[in-house]
């Protein structure tokens, strides 16, 4: 086996390139902001290995993300690129960075609160629409309500603000 000494600067550069790739569904976020880029390494034989984790099992954007990361790395001069899928530990909205949360809010999408801890026991049966307080990303009011727990992408719910009357999307905790 041929070993190529890797330069730490190459790893940093590869990491920087991969971190800047935008999410295909939430393009205001980078894959690093979203927490789906789990690592970028350079192997002993000079391959760049980037690890990605899916948000939801059925997320149709995974192939797009893989292709984008590989394409950007190749364009940056890394010839041998490998993308690995990491399923464990499963993605959680807690991995969305502080910068990512700020960008979401700036684009009118309410960022998630802390992910729920798995709690065995009875199913929480509450018919009232609102289960948690979500501040309106437009006017900041806490007088908001859920209209649907499912929305245009797997990771979001539909809410509306009763103060400014605007509907908005909300990245639901998982």
């Amino acid at each position: 086996m041929v070993t190529v000494p890797t330069m730490p600067t190459d790893v940093l550069r590869a990491r920087h390139v991969a971190e800047q790739v935008p999410d295909p569904e939430l393009p205001m976020l980078t894959l690093a902001d979203l927490g789906v880029l789990r690592g970028v390494e350079i192997t002993g034989d000079g391959r760049v290995v980037a690890s990605l984790t899916p948000t939801y099992s059925g997320c149709p954007a995974m192939a797009e993300m893989r292709a984008d990361v590989a394409g950007r790395l190749r364009a940056a001069g890394f010839e041998r690129v490998e993308i690995r899928t990491v399923l464990d530990p499963p993605w959680t909205t807690d991995w969305i960075t502080a910068a990512g949360r700020r960008k979401l809010a700036e684009h009118g999408i309410a960022p998630p609160g802390p992910a729920p801890r798995p709690a065995p026991g009875p199913v929480p049966l509450v018919l009232a629409a609102t289960r948690r307080t979500v501040a309106c990303p437009r006017c900041g009011s806490a007088d908001t309500e859920e209209t649907s727990r499912f929305a245009a992408t797997s990771c979001k719910a539909l809410w509306r603000c009763r103060a400014c009357r605007e509907p908005f999307e909300y990245v639901k905790e998982i």
Partner: protein
């Protein structure tokens, strides 16, 4: 647009990463791409493959039934919700089929399981394949299947197989949302109008004969029964009556409804093997 063909125009400027994202029909990229696929010592590969197949088939058939609500759900929000739930299940099915192909010795890809098997080869429970019919029936079925799957996945998260364990741990988060959605609707409909209550009763009566099939191989019966009891009580509905019935989807014995479902699901893939567009 520089080209008359709208799809070619869309594809312009997207060539840096290859064609993986433009795969329609068959030929999707392996959802376990780059995952370590070794089977750990001490894991029975035949048993692991059977588990992945049964859970994959439950998910694929359920996803197909949920997708049938698209354009027909009572409200747009419900259509989006049912389609989202189906998409999660389809994602779980893809991962489980990919794992099955790695460990059952066949080396088949996910498409071979979804598109190239006949009804007799499917191992889903029959409850999953029954026609969607009434919205109330779809809600009751979703409540039963998501409660069972959630309880089972919570156990499988501790599976000695790292891939199945990871798929299950991820699925638990999704299934919690699915069960919550079904439970909320069950209470709303059961405790709603006389008409919605009547339909929920009829739906519970309809699922009764298929419940026993869920609990033959896995020890989650008490937990699922407790969830169903809690939700039906809050909804003012009776628990479904359990009636043992002959036949079992887990052994390939299906109702007459599975073959037409598969005919629709598999039609294009079988008419044009390997087609990609």
């Amino acid at each position: 647009m520089s080209d008359d063909h709208v799809y070619l125009s869309l594809a312009e400027g997207h060539d840096e990463g290859g064609d993986a994202r433009w795969a329609f029909g068959t030929g999707f990229e392996d959802p376990l791409h780059g995952v370590d696929t070794a089977v750990p010592a001490g894991v029975d590969a035949t048993e692991l493959a059977a588990t992945c197949l049964a859970l994959g088939d439950d998910a694929l058939v359920s996803a197909q039934r949920l997708a049938e609500w698209t354009t027909r759900a009572p409200e747009l929000e419900e259509e989006v919700a049912l389609a989202n739930i189906g998409l999660d299940l389809l994602g779980q099915a893809r991962l489980l089929y990919a794992r099955c192909g790695q460990v059952d010795g066949s080396g088949r890809g996910e498409d071979a399981y979804a598109y190239l098997r006949d009804a007799d080869d499917f191992r889903n429970v029959r409850l999953a394949e029954l026609p969607g019919g009434d919205f109330a029936f779809s809600i009751v079925r979703l409540l039963v299947l998501s409660s069972w799957r959630l309880a089972h996945f919570e156990r499988l998260a501790a599976s000695p197989d790292p891939v199945l364990s990871a798929v299950a741990a991820k699925g638990v988060k999704e299934l919690t949302y699915h069960r919550q959605y079904a439970a909320d609707w069950a209470v709303r409909l059961g405790d709603g109008t006389p008409e919605s209550h009547r339909r929920m009763r009829a739906a519970l009566h309809q699922v009764g004969p298929y419940l026993g099939e869920l609990f033959t191989a896995y020890d989650v019966r008490d937990e699922v029964v407790a969830v169903l009891a809690q939700v039906t009580e809050a909804a003012g509905l009776p628990m479904p009556a359990w009636r043992p019935t002959p036949g079992a989807g887990r052994e390939g014995g299906h109702t007459e409804h599975l073959a037409p479902l598969l005919a629709e699901l598999q039609g294009v893939a079988r008419a044009h093997p390997g087609a990609v567009w």
